[in-house]
């Protein structure tokens, strides 16, 4: 239980909590970025260096930016419209929190009571770029290609969906 893990876990929890509770969506996104950096730290703590850096690259570098862009392109020009009203104790919010709390209770209970059937090996294996690359090009080459196709499809799909339709452009 290293200090590093505790710090990163704290960052992750704090960031995500802020992301889900701040009223200003921009703050939410920025906190989310912080939280995800924390998650990346958790990955590093687990020895998955490649995944950790990928996490930062993808989430901080792309997803967060994408979300801000989306925000800007929807209501970015009206700052006040962004801020959600305070209604923490409205009916739907309460029911949402209750549901989430329920889920956490069962998941947390399951997590803390879990006992692995086979003991783990103590030494953390290497999961650096080289090992990941070798695995991707050999065992997982088919999934890799599928993911490639998926990303291409998503790229094209996103462009097509987000394009203004004909009459909107004219």
């Amino acid at each position: 239980m290293s200090l590093f893990f505790l710090i990163t876990a704290a960052i992750a929890i704090g960031g995500t909590l802020a992301a889900m509770t701040r009223r200003n969506p921009i703050h939410c996104i920025l906190s989310l970025a912080l939280g995800l950096v924390g998650v990346a730290g958790v990955y590093l703590a687990l020895g998955a260096q490649f995944v950790g850096f990928t996490q930062i690259l993808v989430y901080v570098g792309a997803v967060a930016i994408l979300a801000t862009f989306a925000l800007m392109m929807t209501q970015g020009h009206i700052v006040s419209a962004l801020i959600e009203p305070r209604r923490a104790f409205s009916r739907s919010s309460v029911s949402g929190f209750v549901t989430a709390a329920g889920v956490f209770s069962v998941l947390g209970w399951a997590a803390q009571s879990y006992r692995p059937l086979t003991p783990s090996t103590q030494q953390a294996p290497a999961a650096g770029a080289k090992e990941v690359g070798v695995a991707l090009m050999h065992t997982y080459v088919l999934p890799l290609e599928v993911i490639g196709v998926l990303l291409t499809a998503a790229l094209i799909g996103a462009v097509v969906i987000a394009l203004p339709s004909e009459e909107e452009r004219s």
């Binding site: 995944v51 990928t54 979300a67 953390a124 065992t139």
Partner: protein
């Protein structure tokens, strides 16, 4: 309380936070962010099980996490594009006002 349980607990917590956000926020973009958060929580699980599992040499968890991140990125791109399209149509991203799927 083994390290694995701790990671799982963290994952469960993040998952629940994401779920709470997704359930309570009204802004579609933030709901999407909540969902991303849930995916991340799942990834922590994957990595943790890989790290403390019986056969870490296979890199299965890492691979799964990488693919999951890729899929999440694709999902975010498409999801945000959809939100843009919906916004253009409805002039809002408030989910309470978007209910054309009503039965």
């Amino acid at each position: 309380m083994t390290p694995l349980n701790l990671f799982l607990l963290l994952s469960a917590l993040l998952f629940s936070i994401g779920l709470a956000g997704a359930l309570t926020r009204r802004n579609a973009i933030l709901v999407l962010i909540g969902i991303e958060l849930m995916l991340n929580a799942a990834n922590i699980n994957l990595i943790a099980f890989w790290r403390f599992g019986p056969n870490p040499e296979a890199l299965t968890g890492v691979m799964f996490a990488i693919f999951s991140i890729s899929v999440a990125a694709a999902e975010a791109a498409v999801g945000l594009a959809i939100i843009l399209a919906v916004y253009r149509h409805n002039k809002t991203t408030n989910l309470n006002q978007i209910d054309t799927l009503k039965g």
